[in-house]
């Protein structure tokens, strides 16, 4: 590594830092500032006091905690046994269960929420059948239950996947030692296995908590407004951007997000979980008896049906002419797709432009930050990494409100109008929030490029800049592309910032379109059609990124 700090390095680092400060740190700080400002430059807690004096706010606060907490519980009840099961038993269904993990990536929770109403709602397919046969119904989609149900089905793979990895990494001898000393079954799991897999569980559970606590789209689609994120949105959009209560909510959202992340890393810090010494779990995989196999496959089939129900429901809805008070649609049509292609091509183009632009910014910043951090001695370079990671803990609602407040008077140059009224604001908002994903990809890609590759180029006369262009970037390309696709598809499913930043329909991307259509009964068909198209787009992206990553790994192994 060349220890000399050069002018271009400093210039690039400063440019990135400025970008992050302006579009990430400053908007968040503005939100926090407004929540504590008394309007004349002083500090006050009065907004918090008034927040807790409003019954609806107290109720929303409790509801958000209740929904996030209960969702963690429900996802644990589904995810923990499934993870244990797939890691410890030999059966083909295990592979199916593991691939369930990509489904949430492919379709955001709010998109499927309407379809879930039609399947599990008061007059949905399941309850219609139940009423008909047994004269009772399950209030699965009533109020907060609906949010918990939809979010749980959506997020349980976070726990499943994280925990599976952790379980698979436990040295088999750890478990055998427990058996040797007399423990078995549930006691063995509770005292030895689960504590050892705790890092995976905590990582998954804290992620679920944050995602659900911050989610705006799902409650809004299900018409549940007595939760924190929807209240923040409603206060800011109906009462106005100057209403301090919205900012108080934002501070609470940030507090809990940061708290959950800090809490989980505090929990894991200073504890020794590095247990993999050899082997892994392969030796402990047990065979299923015939009877157990039937049970297992039944369970997997049932679960699969449940998890795929939003997807199937959405597809049915998109193809239905009328679907109301009936188990299945009464008549099928392709008209919804025609409607969408007639009315909403603008939204599709917007999605491509916004998400493509954001992903491009992300991989450029990601590559630059990775290079500065890993390959230079620039003082304070780690801060670029830390700053961009802040975005992981920032709820979309907070950043959205921060943008509305910070940039309300900012105009674009050359008379192009206000920044908030342009597509650029979406690109910036998406780029900032998805940067950590792209950065992770770029970091991994650069870490795999051996330093001697660069030294060889410099030895042959290439300057540092030429080396980056001709050797480093080409060798990182697989990782950069994977980062691009990840940023793109996660941005395409973003809804919190999108709802806040969409000031007129011509600016809206597809995700907003789905949300908008779903507001009316008549719009549900086209909304579903748009959702299906978005799912196809994102699914293709996911497939592509998997292909890129696997191809890259293969070429790395050949090297």
């Amino acid at each position: 590594m060349n220890p000399r700090v050069t002018f271009p390095q400093i210039a690039v680092a400063l440019a990135i830092a400025t970008f992050l400060v302006v579009f990430l740190i400053a908007p968040v700080l503005t939100v926090i500032y407004v929540a504590f400002a008394d309007g004349s430059g002083g500090f006050t807690l009065s907004h918090f006091v008034s927040f807790f004096q409003i019954t609806l706010m107290r109720e929303s606060f409790v509801n958000s905690l209740y929904v996030a907490g209960t969702t963690v519980l429900v996802t644990s009840l589904i995810g923990v046994p499934l993870a244990y099961f797939t890691v410890r038993f030999r059966f083909r269904g295990a592979a199916i269960i593991q691939t369930l993990g990509v489904l949430p990536l492919i379709m955001p929770a709010f998109v499927g929420a309407s379809a879930m109403q039609l399947l599990f709602g008061r007059s949905g397919a399941v309850n219609l059948i139940l009423m008909d046969a047994f004269d009772f119904s399950i209030p699965l989609m009533e109020g907060l239950n609906g949010v918990i149900f939809v979010e749980s089905l959506h997020y349980f793979p976070f726990i499943l996947l994280n925990l599976s990895v952790a379980l698979a990494n436990i040295d088999t001898a750890m478990e055998e030692a427990g058996q040797n000393l007399g423990a078995s079954g549930w006691r063995l799991f509770r005292r030895v296995v689960f504590p050892l897999a705790m890092p995976g569980y905590i990582a998954g559970a804290s992620l679920v908590f944050i995602k659900v606590f911050d989610d705006l789209g799902t409650p809004l689609i299900l018409n549940v407004t007595n939760m924190l994120a929807p209240q923040a949105y409603l206060r800011v959009t109906s009462i106005g951007i100057d209403d301090p209560i919205g900012y108080v909510i934002c501070v609470l959202l940030v507090l809990f997000s940061v708290g959950a992340m800090a809490g989980s890393s505090w929990f894991l810090k200073g504890r020794d979980f590095a247990t993999l010494q050899r082997g892994g779990a392969a030796g402990l995989r047990r065979k299923l008896t015939a009877w157990q196999a039937v049970m297992a496959y039944g369970l997997v089939a049932g679960l699969l049906l449940l998890v795929l129900s939003p997807h199937l429901g959405l597809l049915l809805l998109s193809l239905s002419k009328v679907w109301s008070y009936s188990v299945l649609p009464d008549a099928y049509t392709l008209a919804n797709y025609a409607t969408v292609f007639r009315d909403s091509t603008r939204m599709m183009i917007n999605t491509l432009v916004y998400c493509g632009g954001a992903a491009l910014i992300d991989v450029i910043l990601g590559t630059a930050i990775a290079y500065l951090v890993l390959r230079t001695q620039l003082p304070g370079r780690q801060w670029l990494d830390h700053m961009s990671t802040v975005a992981l803990a920032m709820p979309g609602v907070v950043l959205g409100i921060g943008y509305l407040r910070s940039f309300r008077d900012v105009d674009l140059p050359f008379g192009m109008g206000p920044l908030l009224g342009s597509g650029l604001i979406f690109i910036l908002a998406y780029a900032v929030r998805r940067l950590p994903y792209a950065l992770r990809s770029c970091n991994a890609a650069l870490a795999q490029v051996h330093l001697s590759m660069e030294e060889a180029a410099q030895n042959l006369g290439a300057s540092r800049g030429r080396t980056i262009m001709r050797v480093v970037v080409p060798m990182m390309m697989g990782g950069i592309l994977a980062g691009f696709v990840t940023s793109f598809i996660t941005a395409a499913g973003e809804i919190s910032e999108t709802i806040l930043l969409t000031s007129r329909e011509s600016l809206a991307p597809m995700s907003y379109g789905v949300y908008l259509y779903m507001q009316s009964i008549a719009g549900r068909g086209p909304g579903a059609a748009l959702g299906v198209l978005a799912v196809i787009l994102v699914g293709l992206g996911t497939y592509l990124s998997n292909r890129l990553v696997t191809a890259r790994q293969a070429s790395m192994e050949r090297r």
């Binding site: 040295d171 030692a177 427990g178 058996q179 040797n180 000393l181 078995s184 005292r191 030895v192 504890r271």
Partner: protein
Amino acid sequence: MTEPVKVDVEGVTLSFGANKVLDNINVTVQPGEFFALLGPSGCGKSTLLRLIAGFNRAQTGRILVAGEDITEVPPWKRNVGMVFQSYALWPHMSVAQNVAFGLEEKRLPREAIRRGVAKALELVGLTELAARKPGQISGGQQQRVALARTLAIEPRVLLLDEPLSNLDAKLRHHMRRELVSLQRRLGITTIFVTHDQEEALTTADRLAVMDRGVIQQVGAPMELFDSPASRFVAEFIGSINLLKGTLDRGDAGSTRFRSGAGAFSLSLPEAAPAGGEVTLAFRPHSLELAEPGASADAARAWFPAQIHEREFLGEFIRYRLHAQDTELLADVPHRKGDPGYANGAKVMAGIDPAQVRLFAG
């Protein structure tokens, strides 16, 4: 401590797919015995140990502890303590919690658990580290904790899976002696798996040498060293010279041996197979060297050889000899002032017939 018990392995065969890992294993470990399973990696010794602990299932055969068939008993009900090669200390529990685990699983009252933990830690001399986490103590200490954790449940049998392999050489020798003295004090039937012949010879009362899933020989260390039952055992335990040739039986017990190292007369105490191909096996230290023409011990069979290489090992010099087209090893004790033979020197090599072991073929 409870009465020492006997362990019987009867007709055990175990295959993983087409791969036969244990082939008709029959062995009895006497009560209170320190018994070693010795063999190269992949010979099935660890598999056999895990079978006794209940972590593997054999296709045929049974395992008896104190005469009671435990083949179908799950691992957690066997009370057969095992120390794992990796120690398998749980990092989320303190040393004391690790040691207490087995006692808690026995649902003992709190006071009994406390006493059991204290006793086990005292046994291995780690009382003051009780509150530490496994990650905060040294490898040697971890090894003792693993031992204490196993001994705390007062198992009927103690199984040790390469317990010393993760320690550095010096600590390994120290722990080896400590392990033996602990076993002597407790009198617990102990089965010890190792690939290190020195470890097995120095610790075990008796040992079984295994190769490719088959027990090659069972016996006391000296017995195995002096009278190996097969070429494999001879080569695996200590160094050995193997001299292939043909025997022509003369009269009065004298035989003429013809080999790549030359032809010489040999009066063998053992009943030699009549004629045909044989292999003479003898240890390097039983081969004597002499100057050509010097007066030599007439009881030995002498043949000419040339020093090819020498290694000075302190207590003795190891010579690599060429006798015609055969290479042999000779360990000659070193005494101060004796420089030994130089490379290329011509010598006479003498075999002591009493130290020779004869294998057919």
